[in-house]
């Protein structure tokens, strides 16, 4: 059995002469919470899109859950969940309808969908809002719902692109509780974030600067390596080297 959930070797994506992602290599072990850090425009989202099979790499190799990202994207898609930076559930459907739709697309049976929906509603304390249109929910709830939708088909690996962008500290805390619950059940978490306090929650983090991975280790080791007291300092130290301007 392969103990690596994600394996990337010299993965690159160019847009013309612009190297959005420049030969990144890293491994993520099964069950790990892997933080993918970097300033705006460092190439995190582009890298993630290649890993989840919606963007074709320019060069390099990678496998997700043992499947090749060039030829086996559909197999990869069965085994991963994804939560986009931009809220991407259907605004004009209710919570229940959204969960049912995505559950159905992933091939869950109707009884399973029903059961899982109840679980999600209970977990998020949204029973009363079951039939509310998603657009009427506050952002924090939407984010938690989007995470639940990404986890709905019990994927092996879940990719979260800035899942806590724009939400309050309390909700962020609750969100990370949910991430830990998933990790404890054996799901591999691949998460990008700007918040350095969140970086501390990860087992291991990588720091991306200008399309390259400049550092990768556990938060503790990184702080030691950069002789810093907090992840903030590590981040600032590295991000200052960036020559690209953020988006």
């Amino acid at each position: 059995m392969n103990e690596l959930a994600i394996k990337a070797e010299k993965l690159s994506k160019n847009f013309g002469s612009f190297k959005a992602v420049d030969e990144i290599s890293f491994d993520v072990k099964k069950g790990e919470v892997f933080g993918f850090l970097g300033a705006n425009g460092a190439g995190k989202t582009t890298a993630m899109k290649m890993l989840i099979g919606i963007s074709t790499p320019s060069s390099g190799k990678a496998s997700i859950a043992g499947y090749d990202i060039y030829n086996e994207t559909e197999k990869i898609k069965r085994n991963i969940g994804y939560m986009s930076q931009k809220f991407s559930l259907y605004d004009d459907l209710t919570i229940g309808e959204n969960l049912r739709f995505f559950g159905g697309i992933y091939g869950l049976s109707r009884p399973d969908i029903k059961l899982n929906t109840e679980k999600v509603l209970d977990r998020l304390h949204l029973q009363k809002e079951k039939n509310a249109l998603v657009k009427s929910l506050p952002l924090g709830w939407k984010q938690k719902l989007a995470f639940s939708a990404a986890m709905f088909h019990s994927p092996q690996i879940v990719f979260l692109d800035e899942p806590t962008g724009g939400v309050d500290p309390l909700t962020r805390r609750e969100f990370w509780d949910m991430i830990y619950e998933a990790a404890e059940l054996g799901t591999t978490i691949f998460v990008t974030t700007h918040y350095m306090d969140e970086a501390e929650y990860c087992n291991r983090i990588s720091m991306m600067v200008d399309g390259k991975i400049e550092a990768m280790n556990s938060p503790k080791e990184l702080k030691k390596q950069f002789n810093a007291s907090s992840m903030d300092e590590v981040f600032l130290d590295l991000a200052r080297k960036a020559t690209r301007t953020g988006d």
Binding site: Y82, S84, K86, R100, G103, G104, G107, A149
Partner: protein, 372 residues
Amino acid sequence: MKTLIFLLEKEFRQVFRDPAILRMLFIMPVIQLIVLPLAANYEVKNINIDIIDHDKSDFSAELITRLNGSGYFKLKNTPGTFEEAMKDFANDNADIILEIPSNFEKDLVKENNSKLFMAVNAINGAKANIGASYLNSLIQKYNIEVRTEWLNAPEQKLQKGILLEYSNWYNIHMNYRNFMVPGILAILLTMVGMFLTSLNIVREKEAGTIEQINVTPIKKHIFILGKLLPFWIMGLVVLTLGLLVARIIYGISPLGNLFHVYLFAAVFLWATLGLGLLISTISKTQQQAMLIAFFLLMIFILLGGLYTSIDSMPKWAQIITWFNPVKYFIEVMRMIILKGSTLFDILKHVGIMILFAIFFNAWAVLSYSKRS
């Protein structure tokens, strides 16, 4: 297959939750079908005419009365000179000027021969031409009556005119609406289908939800089919509404088999909805999709034979119409509804439409990419 059902369920929910789409689907076609055929009419009435009567005789007065009473002409002015009448032309107040010479009655009585002068404002070419031929025939008729009744001209001196008898087939009363309604219905179905589908996928691109779809293992052709089927069903509902309006308001019911109308419409919708989805997959924004759809629709309508006969187009334009699915639909609608054509008669059209359908849908599936 199971995935498709979930997809359909979701699409239908979204459609029925969007009042704008519902209005576009059900109210717009009905209103257009009620209003357009009444307005889009080739029968020319209210032709404005200026008559310069230099003769002021009984004969000329009688001619004027007749023209006025024909129902086609509206006597605008009776100016004294041609120059004055030309002013009405310039202001677009008159479509035709008829000049009666001063010796009109005298010539007619004595020499059995007189000349009238007619000038036509050809800015509105169709109206002018039709008006001129009306005027011509009215004058001819008057001429014959004058010669036989008033002048008691001897029989043998009368030139025997060629009497042309004709009968109209398929549209017995030459009712222009009978001709227009099936065609307009075809256009409406195309418009509704193409706009709704061309905006559909691209709207998911704008909302970002397409990304969530693209990370699922959904098959491309299932996705396209899931987008096509709801509008296919609703297209057939629109057709039904349109046929009901045609029947109730215009009293038009298909002479041929109603089932054949649906059969062809089903294939036609499959093709046009495929084209709409193709537009949607290649566009980045709804605005872009709308413009492409609009551009194609203009060509489809103008080269579809609804307003202008394809037979009288130049050869190169006729060749373009071969690639216009709407042309075939309008033809088939008129054939089945007005002419009572059978399935055998429309077999060629069905075959061509199936080719269109396969072509557009295959292209749409290929151009929808889950990866960038």
